[in-house]
């Protein structure tokens, strides 16, 4: 017994000795954190390019599971053990760390950020002090994917009005497909279903600008009717759609069991990778008449930020500047199939992204994520829960809107007049 204990202690000591820091070298090491383990290979390639151009800097990447990322980053920032460069969420997610003083303001350090578009900058700017705290990386667009083979087979055309959209769905259903792959088991799936299908129905920017200023509420009839329109999609969703999870939705579309998938532009990379033979394309879900603009909900997604407590700010800045170059942006487009926020990126090599950019001409902010995720209860959480209830036929659209309105009004000043 004693011998066992001694051996174990020796092992423990041996292990800890492995952790002794290396002797100081001329190379500066910086830590880079991301919440996308699926993109590690891509970032390692990019890091290799950066290290070649900057031999005195070494970047170590640490990919943390998306759902634990915020918690672990908070602990590291609060515990003064922060990574030098980290991926930061946009809007409300950024606000948390910016207000707590954990992020470095980049206004003066990176004048090139002024070239970025207003919309992308909004995701990296603090609403408290107006400074920009990160380099916007990508923007995501909510639209409708469709299976081209099915459309050819059934002689369908890209719909220009809501009724045509419904008719297409009906035709697919009659032919035996799941017309729409979407399910509602996970709350955020309801939110992006609405972001994709509802934006045109509530007239995009007209409503958004008014509601953010407090000139109208979520109980405005046009919004209620948009929510009702989402409810009207349920006959076209898979059997027992309340139990269909996000992975199931993706699998259904990838395996050509369903004809449409309303979701984010970021799906394209995964679809292509899982089923290279899948022939898909996109269209914006249209409004009621052909004259109405077909809106797509857009939001800025990631920012590359520098920790205020980083001891290697110069190296971190060099890396972040690299992540703001059009060359990096082009790689994001071509390898990750995401829309880069960097201005001046050449998208000619990727027709899918070029098309998304086309659709973005009629962009409206992704309602709850952009405008109402700064306090608890966030607009997103209220809408997700209520929408799930509605899709399960437990609530009406009016009740959903009422719940969302009342919840947000508890803290949103323009609603409290």
């Amino acid at each position: 017994m004693k011998k066992l204990l001694l051996t174990l202690m020796a092992l423990v000591l041996l292990l800890s000795s492995l952790a002794l820091p290396m002797s100081a070298e001329a190379v500066t090491e910086i830590q880079f954190w991301t919440w996308r383990p699926e993109d590690t290979n891509f970032y390692e390639k990019v890091i290799a390019q950066f290290e070649e151009a900057n031999p005195t800097i070494k970047v170590t990447i640490n990919a943390i599971k998306n759902t634990e990322y915020n918690t672990i980053l908070s602990a590291a920032l609060a515990g003064d053990s922060a990574p030098d460069v980290f991926m930061s969420r946009a809007y409300g997610g950024l606000q948390t760390f910016a207000d707590s003083g954990y992020m470095l303001a980049l206004d003066d350090l990176m004048p090139e950020l002024k070239e970025f578009s207003e919309a992308t900058r909004m995701g990296a700017t603090s609403i408290t002090d107006g400074k920009i705290y990160g380099v916007p990386a990508v923007s995501q667009t909510m639209l409708c994917f469709y299976n081209k083979k099915v459309y050819e087979e059934l002689g369908l055309e890209v719909p220009k009005t809501w009724d045509q959209f419904i008719a297409n769905l009906q035709a697919c259903k009659d032919a035996g497909y799941d017309a729409l792959a979407n399910g509602t088991k996970e709350g955020w799936c309801c939110e992006f279903l609405f972001g994709g299908a509802g934006a045109s129905q509530y007239s995009g920017n007209d409503f958004y600008n008014k509601v953010v200023a407090g000139e109208t509420t979520f109980e405005d009839p046009i919004f209620v009717s948009a929510v009702n329109d989402m409810l009207s999609l349920t006959p076209f969703m898979p059997n027992m759609y309340e139990g269909v999870a996000y992975t199931d939705m993706q699998a259904s579309f990838i395996n050509e069991m369903s004809a449409h998938f309303v979701g984010g532009s970021y799906e394209a990379g995964y679809f292509k990778a899982e089923n290279p033979e899948l022939d898909f394309d996109i269209f914006p879900v249209p409004g009621k008449t052909e004259a109405d603009p077909a809106y797509v909900s857009v939001y800025a997604d990631m920012n590359f930020a520098i920790a205020a407590s980083s001891k290697k700010q110069d190296a971190a800045l060099a890396f972040v500047k690299f992540l703001a170059t059009p060359e990096f942006g082009a790689q994001v487009v071509n390898e990750l199939a995401m829309v880069s926020s960097i201005p001046g990126v050449d998208v000619s090599a990727n027709p899918f992204i070029a098309k998304v950019l086309e659709l973005q001409k009629n962009n409206t902010p992704y309602l709850f994520l952009v405008g109402f995720r700064y306090n608890q209860p966030t607009g997103s959480s209220l809408f997700q829960a209520a929408a799930q209830g509605m899709m399960a036929k437990q609530l009406t659209a009016e009740e959903v809107c009422k719940q969302v309105q009342e919840g947000i009004a508890t803290y949103y000043v323009p609603f409290q007049k």
């Binding site: 990322y69 996970e186 139990g243 999870a245 608890q376 997103s380 959480s381 437990q394």
Partner: protein, 304 residues
């Protein structure tokens, strides 16, 4: 006499201190520090001034915390009741027949514990697959002609929590089975033989002789179930996410606490003050109820 006292104290210290030290530094201190946070106001992750019981008032008085908390607590009660009744009673029965060498017990006792060995993540994934609308559970129901019972299980507000509880019971049933089996094995044969010779039948043997002698293991299982039901988090997190989907039907005070204190990817910013207040409430409730049940069962213990 004095030195005997001191010697005893020294022995107690010797045995207890190392463990207590580790638990104190790595668990109790962080937990108390985080509960202490509930007495302050917060701006995002930065602590502001002392605010007394403000956060508690917010928790019990304001929307949405109040209704979320009551809803979540209700679910925890469902967890406790179902687990006590289904899991622990079945565990007791299984433990009894296994102890009495029912046919096949050698095989059963080895296999029953296997679900405990799966990681929670594996359990969540596998059962998530089986409970899908086109998954195995619905397929079996269809094959057995019971289509009317087919449902979206995890997506259906009325069945979601129960489905998750049942999965958790599936996972843990082997544990009380083995604990009770071991405990019943340890009942000295003389006691049961004496009672048998006095003319007791099996039911009386069990209730009057065996059960009183295994009360310590009943305490263990009961208290672990109470603590487990109030603390349940991982299983719900894996199968239904942090927000208690669908529409808060699967929410528990554990998930409510975690997403309030840390925010969640979808539902946003952390509210550390209120979150810590929730943790204080959870801790106090768990402590009080455990103490109570230990007190009750201790009074029923029979010394050998």
């Amino acid at each position: 006499m004095r030195s005997k006292h001191m010697k005893k104290a020294a022995w107690i210290a010797f045995f207890v201190t190392p463990g207590l030290l580790v638990v104190f530094v790595f668990i109790l201190m962080p937990l108390f520090m985080s509960m202490f946070n509930s007495l302050f106001g917060w701006n995002q992750l930065i602590r502001l001034d002392f605010s007394g019981l403000d956060n508690f008032r917010k928790l019990f008085g304001s929307y949405p915390y109040q209704e979320r908390f009551t809803n979540a607590l209700g679910n925890n009660v469902k967890w406790f009741v179902m687990t006590m009744v289904l899991q622990n009673l079945a565990g007791l029965l299984f433990g009894y027949v296994l102890s009495k060498r029912i046919a096949g017990s050698q095989v059963y006792r080895r296999i029953f514990f296997i679900p405990v060995l799966f990681s929670i993540v594996a359990v969540g994934f596998l059962w998530g697959l089986y409970l899908r609308p086109n998954g195995m559970v619905n397929a079996l129901l269809g094959a057995a002609g019971l289509e009317q019972y087919q449902s979206a299980w995890l997506g259906n507000a009325s069945t979601a929590t129960y489905a998750i509880i049942l999965v958790n019971i599936w996972r843990w049933l082997g544990f009380p089975s083995l604990v009770f089996m071991t405990a019943i094995d340890n009942v000295p044969a003389e006691c049961t033989e004496a009672a048998y010779l006095d003319g007791a039948n099996e039911w009386q043997l069990f209730t009057k002789v065996v059960f009183p002698l295994i009360i310590p293991s009943v305490t263990i299982i009961t208290v672990l179930t109470i603590i487990g039901s109030l603390n349940v988090f991982e299983q719900v997190y894996t199968m239904a996410g942090l927000d208690g989907a669908p529409n808060y039907a699967t929410d528990t005070i554990g998930t409510l606490f975690y997403r309030t204190a840390f925010g969640s990817v979808d539902s946003g910013a952390p509210e550390i003050g209120v979150g810590s207040a929730i943790s204080v409430v959870i801790y106090l409730m768990t402590f009080a109820i455990s103490l109570l049940s230990i007190g009750i069962t201790r009074s029923k213990e029979v010394e050998l």
